[in-house]
């Protein structure tokens, strides 16, 4: 790691000030991704602002739903009685990610800020548009490796099939965010210009022409909490993660399902997919189709077909064009207990 300064922040305002006044300053939460990025010289910080002592780890019931502090650890959220009772999909998704140790370190805010696991992003000798130009540090002004997308035409088995651009086909690695996308969460942030809320669907972005930007946060903005509205989707929930080993691996495809059922009829349903796009991929078409319908294999197949509209393979990841709809069907069957 390059040498950098280290500061502890005691208030969110202090943290925001420290990060926004100096280019090359980063918030340090659990560090499970950031320290990895610094070790791999993808991030070359001048200062890390330790926000672990900020009083933002509360998990509480509010009038409209549940609020989770940005500094709540992934494991604390997954095991919290409120979450297990009302938002089992979130608990399942969290437990499907990383390892018990990493979940003890990683925070909810940090999880949202995870960078892609695309190998080209990490290897400076291979092309990647996502690294962007280096803004600071010892290599200031030098391009941080060649531009281009190594994954297009390269090893892209893990890559996106939705919402890609010519610049980038990387996927967002988070499991937790798939649940938050499905559950219509809102992200509360503070920044140099004050507080604001961002709907989860608007939080992460597609690569487009600026793949270096994962999300819509403005410089210096800090995540404070996440609000998840009350819903009746607790009982019929499942997070299915298909991966290359049984645990501790990133998703080839994952599917989050939360449904409200009356008998065999789907009253309401939320569906989102991971491992397929630069952001958590909400399946609104499929949701609309399933609402009010019977939980049957035929309906699930039709929903999966609708969900796959616009999907595009890049060679090695063509299998996802089959695996994704299969996984939707499997997840729906498990969630609605129709298997």
């Amino acid at each position: 790691m390059n040498p950098f300064q280290f500061t502890r922040a005691n208030t969110p305002q202090a943290a925001v000030l420290a990060v926004s006044k100096e280019s090359g300053a980063y918030f340090l939460a659990g560090g499970t991704n950031l320290i990895d990025l610094v070790k791999r010289e993808v991030v070359i910080p001048e200062r890390l602002v330790d926000i672990n002592r900020l009083p933002l780890a509360t998990i509480e019931e509010t009038a409209s739903g549940i609020r989770i502090g940005a500094m709540a650890k992934n494991s604390a959220v997954a095991d919290h009685p409120l979450i297990k009772k009302h938002l089992p999909l979130l608990s399942m998704a969290l437990n499907a990610g990383a390892s018990a140790q990493l979940r003890n370190m990683a925070t909810v805010g940090g999880n949202m800020m995870q960078r892609t696991r695309c190998p080209y992003f990490y290897d400076h000798s291979m092309p990647c548009n996502k690294r962007g130009p280096v803004q600071s540090g010892p290599s200031k002004g030098q391009p941080n490796g060649p531009a281009g997308c190594g994954a297009i035409g390269g090893v892209n088995r893990m890559h996106a099939i939705f919402g890609t651009s010519e610049k980038c086909i990387a996927v967002h690695p988070s499991d937790m965010c798939i649940a938050l996308a499905a559950l219509d969460a809102t992200v509360n942030v503070t920044g140099p210009k004050g507080n604001r809320s961002i709907h989860f669907a608007e939080f992460h972005r597609l690569p487009g022409d600026a793949p270096q930007k994962d999300n819509t946060l403005l410089p210096g903005e800090l995540i404070l909490s996440v609000d998840i509205p009350k819903n009746e989707l607790g009982k019929y929930a499942h997070y299915l993660k298909v991966r290359d080993r049984t645990s501790y691996a990133f998703a080839l495809v994952s599917v989050g399902v939360a449904a409200d059922m009356k008998g065999k009829t789907i009253q309401d349903i939320r569906l989102a997919m991971g491992g397929v796009a630069h952001k958590p991929w909400r399946l609104k078409e499929a949701e609309r189709y399933l609402k009010g319908k019977e939980a049957t294999l035929e309906n699930f197949k039709q929903a999966a077909t609708l969900a796959m509209q616009g999907a595009k393979g890049y060679g090695e990841n063509d299998f996802k064009l089959t695996l994704a709809p299969n996984s939707i069907i499997e997840a729906l069957q498990i969630a609605t207990q129709t298997v």
Partner: protein
Amino acid sequence: MENENNAGEPESTGASRRAFLKQSSVLAAFALTPPAAVHAVEKGLDEKVAVAFEQQPLRVEVNGVAQQLSVEPRVTLLDLLREQLSLTGTKKGCDHGQCGACTVHVDGQRVNSCLTLALTTEGSKVTTIEGLGSVDKLHPMQEAFIKHDGFQCGYCTPGQIMSAVACINEGHANSPDEVREYMSGNICRCGAYANIVEAIMEVKSKGGRI
């Protein structure tokens, strides 16, 4: 220390650095032009200057012993334990949070010490394998690992044991399958998993926090 400042300005914990800056106005000019150490060296300044710039104080309790240390911000808890505190029981297997060999407890929680900056443990209690039990007085989990032969080469073992203890205390050891899932962050290349699960289930069956 962390409560000194309520005014919004983040506080640098670099007490020695602050003291140093007071002494030297020349160096103060560099302080805001990080990475300070590199610049210091580029200017041909004495290396001790660079060290003073880089190191910050750290108060942490390790295996019950209060430590007052001075460490660079970039030093991980893993390297601090191994290279500065001679606690080499904690192992480096990947240095990127991908294998679990470096698992220790910070305030009772299992974490990957390779991704934990040492300075973030300020005021915390760290427990390593050396603090769990000794050759003469083994921890029940250490006993169980020997009984069930939960290792071969032994390199991942300290991490497995620290993780196993936490797995039970977290309440995630209610069945062999649950143990397998919640221990999956600890890779064992010799492949002792089946025996490790037996060891954990046996300790778990005796009940209580361990």
